[in-house]
Amino acid sequence: MSGEPLLSVRDLRVAFRDRSGAMAPAANLSVDVPANGSLAVVGESGSGKTVSMRALLGLLPATAVVSGEAHFGGRDLIGLPEPELRKVRGPGIGMIFQNAMSALNPTRTLKVQLTEHLRWHGSCDRKTAVRRAVEALDRVGIPEPDRRIRMYPFQLSGGMRQRAMIAMSIVAGPRLLIADEPTTAVDVTIQRQVLDVLKQLRDDGLAIIMITHDLGVARYFCDDVVVMKDGRMVETATMKRFIADAREPYSRKLLDAAPDIDLRVEPDQSPAPSDRNQLLQARDLVKVFHGRGGDVHAVDDVSVTVGANETVGVVGESGSGKSTLARLLMRLVEPSSGEVTFDGHDLLAARRSELHALRRRVQMVFQNPYGSLLPHATVAANIVEPLRVHHVGTPAQRRARAVELLELVGIPVHRADQYPRQFSGGQQQRIAIARALALEPQLLVCDEPTSALDVSIQAQILDLLDDLKHRLGLSMLFITHNLAVAQRLCDRVVVMASGHIVESAPSSQLFAQPQHPYTRALLAAALPVRSDPPPWQPATSIDTRSGELVEVTPQHWVRAATPVPEETP
């Protein structure tokens, strides 16, 4: 870190001009990035992180008004004419996006997408370009790069695709990479792989600006941090100082909201109440989807129970079958085989009217609150919809119930007649929860209810669910990919992979003494904010399919080929 910074941004201001000509400020930023440095730009959605970074490269729509200075390689990027700026994009500064599926053109091969800009810039001929592209793919750790370069993006797995996109941005040899939430859309284990690829690039001399909302990622990867809120810079600091001693209240709020897995919890030695009333019981559930490419065993031989007043977490990466499981339990999807009983009633044998009555007692909360609310109905109408379907109460009584529920979830009652789109994402999720509670269900099935929300909102929703659980005596089946969230809320956690249960244990025990290698890999891949990340080696394939579930200690079940000895910490 000597002398001139690689990128020096001074009083960068971005505003959007609306139709009437009024200006809406979107970002204001001043930062330095040293050569080979790494800066985290942290903030919640709408804080101006992406906008300010795109403004540097002139990638905003024409309605954006950008002012200030941004010196890179001896030139001020702001106000640089388009042809000059184009020479910086690519060979000077590369960009990585959140979703590789969208950031790579689905109908062109990697070869086209990795080489075309080398020729736009006139840096080399076709043959050299292809060679450089293969090298770039190799550098980001894609095996058999000369074969894979002929593939289309959709033929690659999620992690591979993300790496291919990184390769696309480094092939022109930039000195600075702007990574816009590069790991938000991928699973934890892949997140770690992608970050390690970026770390490798840093070791090779690149500077990286990482836009992220995940403080764990920022801490793992970056030396410096900028916190943004509502377009303004709240705090800049070195990462160490920020974690230890954030100055601004907003920064501290962000840090507090970040969920961390606590691995040092003492396993709860008091025997869990095993005489709990079993509310929901599923045995040997199987769901096979018959696709064109063959059969997919989405859920294979899964048994779960949810006791009265118990919160069970189902944790797994995408494709592990956890959402399918939730739908099977509610009989929204017919299982291929197996049985489900709810409070002694056979849910799968239930006829229409009986099923109708049973469904009253089980309600669901979805990941995307806006998608799950009726957009053309008011909030009150949305909440009373289940009451209407089940013919409960008079209109006046339903209205009173809606008001009561809004108070319960903390939405101002005077907004009952507004429409869902007028609320923020967190408020929409509260409304969805209120709707799920309208019929006073015994069991709430939550499918990733906080995954689409900002961290501080996530914390609020989790608090709300925790509070409701105790006040209303709810049972809950909580599906999440986030182990920290599961630990926060759940009494018992079931870990799923490739349609199977690999481990199931009371929360305290699972996090203190994970037994299955897959569970351990998941825990190791998570990036905590408050402590150093646990050591991690890229997991070679873990067998999550074979073996039988064995009860190693009371209520702690692990999938194992041979019975695991009692004492393996």
């Binding site: 795109r54 490269l57 990638l59 184009r86 020479k87 910086v88 994009r89 690519g90 060979p91 590369g94 960009m95 996006f97 959140q98 979703n99 599926m101 969208s102 950031a103 790579l104 053109n105 689905p106 109908t107 062109r108 075309e116 800009h117 736009w120 810039h121 074969r147 002929r150 593939m151 289309y152 959709f154 033929q155 690659l156 797995s157 996109m165 696309m168 941005s169 022109a172 199987v286 769901k287 096979v288 989807f289 018959h290 696709g291 064109r292 490419g293 063959g294 059969d295 997919v296 989405a298 999807v333 017919e334 299982p335 291929s336 085989s337 799968l348």
Partner: protein, 357 residues
């Protein structure tokens, strides 16, 4: 690939049979037959020769039961000998169609080309200039044109170019100059529709991150638009252009009648008006065949253009494993993407990952 094609062809034939049964059934239900109309002396039916033609009487006479008439016709369809028409007893149904089809085709091909030549650039321009005057102006014009029936537009063209300016003939079918007015009139509505479709499709693609990604690589705006955005947004256009062309090729009743063009549309209306069973069955089935073939071609072309569809299919083709049904499977679930409606949502292509080169 071949298995897929074979499956599609079998379905195509089944559809044709269904169409033939429905058409024939409707004809039986509708009151009035050709002979009744002829006896009533409806003047436009041209002669009473039909009623006495021995070949016709033998095939579709009063004494022949309806199902036998149907089978006779279908047999004629397969052996390409559909026999004479009631209205035109001196020529067979297939001759009439073969005579009229080239006329309709020679209108349809230029009309289609004209449509594409105008619609694509206009749609692209409107999308690129979204929210500006050029966008509002073109969308307004297109919507107006789409609301204007083609035959009214034809009348307008006749008035201006034939009557006032005297540059083009009013009606008839005697040379290339007779093509101009019908082709333009035919192209108006499809152009408006397609241009709006291109605009929407472009706007959808422009929202994708790969556009920003390509610009962040240092691409010129124009290069990015053509190499990535336009290319991708024209793929779904195929699904619209196919049926559109089928529509044009099967003749357009109003314009053909208005401008005195001896195309398929006119043949069909004559057949319908006179309850000319063989001719009506022949033209209807021919129309159905054209539409079904166009759909098949669209699906094949779509696969060629969009690698996602191509690989999805080829993975299906390579593993023709019959679905194994377990106990309580009543729903086939989400694992079976409809092959007719390519799912272009961002989540969808995930299912396609099984493809291998």
């Amino acid at each position: 690939m071949l298995a897929y094609l074979a499956r599609r062809l079998v379905r195509l034939i089944l559809s044709l049979v269904a169409v033939s049964i429905i058409t024939f059934g409707l004809l039986q239900l509708v009151p009035g037959s050709f002979s009744e109309l002829a006896e009533a002396g409806t003047s436009e039916l041209g002669g009473d020769a039909s009623a006495t033609d021995p070949a016709l009487t033998e095939r579709y006479g009063e004494q022949v039961p309806a199902w036998e008439q149907y089978l006779t016709f279908m047999r004629g369809l397969v052996t390409f000998d559909m026999g004479p028409s009631y209205r035109y007893p001196q020529s067979t149904v297939e001759e009439l169609i073969i005579e009229a089809f080239p006329v309709s085709l020679s209108l349809a091909v230029p009309a289609m080309l004209l449509t594409l030549l105008i619609a694509v650039p206009v749609g692209v321009m409107a999308a690129v200039k979204k929210g500006k005057l050029a966008d509002y102006g073109s969308v307004f014009t297109l919507t107006t044109l789409q609301a204007l029936p083609g035959y009214l537009f034809a009348l307008l063209l006749v008035l201006v170019f034939a009557v006032w300016l005297g540059m083009l003939p009013v009606r008839g079918w005697a040379g290339p100059e007779y093509l101009v007015i019908p082709v333009v009139a035919l192209a108006v509505q499809p152009t408006a529709m397609l241009a709006r479709y291109v605009r929407t499709s472009m706007l959808e693609e422009l929202r994708e991150d790969y556009v920003v990604a390509a610009q962040a690589k240092g691409g010129r705006r124009r290069v990015v638009l053509v190499r990535h955005v336009l290319r991708n947004s024209l793929i779904p256009l195929v699904t619209v252009a196919g049926p559109l062309f089928a529509n044009l090729a099967t003749g357009t009743v109003f314009i053909e009648a208005l401008l005195g063009i001896p195309g398929l549309g006119r043949l069909f209306t004559t057949a319908a008006r006179t309850r000319d069973m063989p001719l009506l069955m022949g033209t209807t089935l021919f129309f159905a065949l054209i539409f079904l073939l166009m759909n098949l071609i669209v699906d094949m072309v779509y696969g060629l253009l969009d690698p996602r569809i191509r690989h999805q299919r080829s993975s299906g083709w390579r593993r023709p494993k019959p679905p194994r049904r377990l106990l309580a499977t009543t729903s086939r679930g989400r694992g079976t993407p409809g092959h007719d409606a390519p799912d272009r949502s961002p989540a969808a292509p995930g299912d396609v990952e099984v493809a291998r080169p």
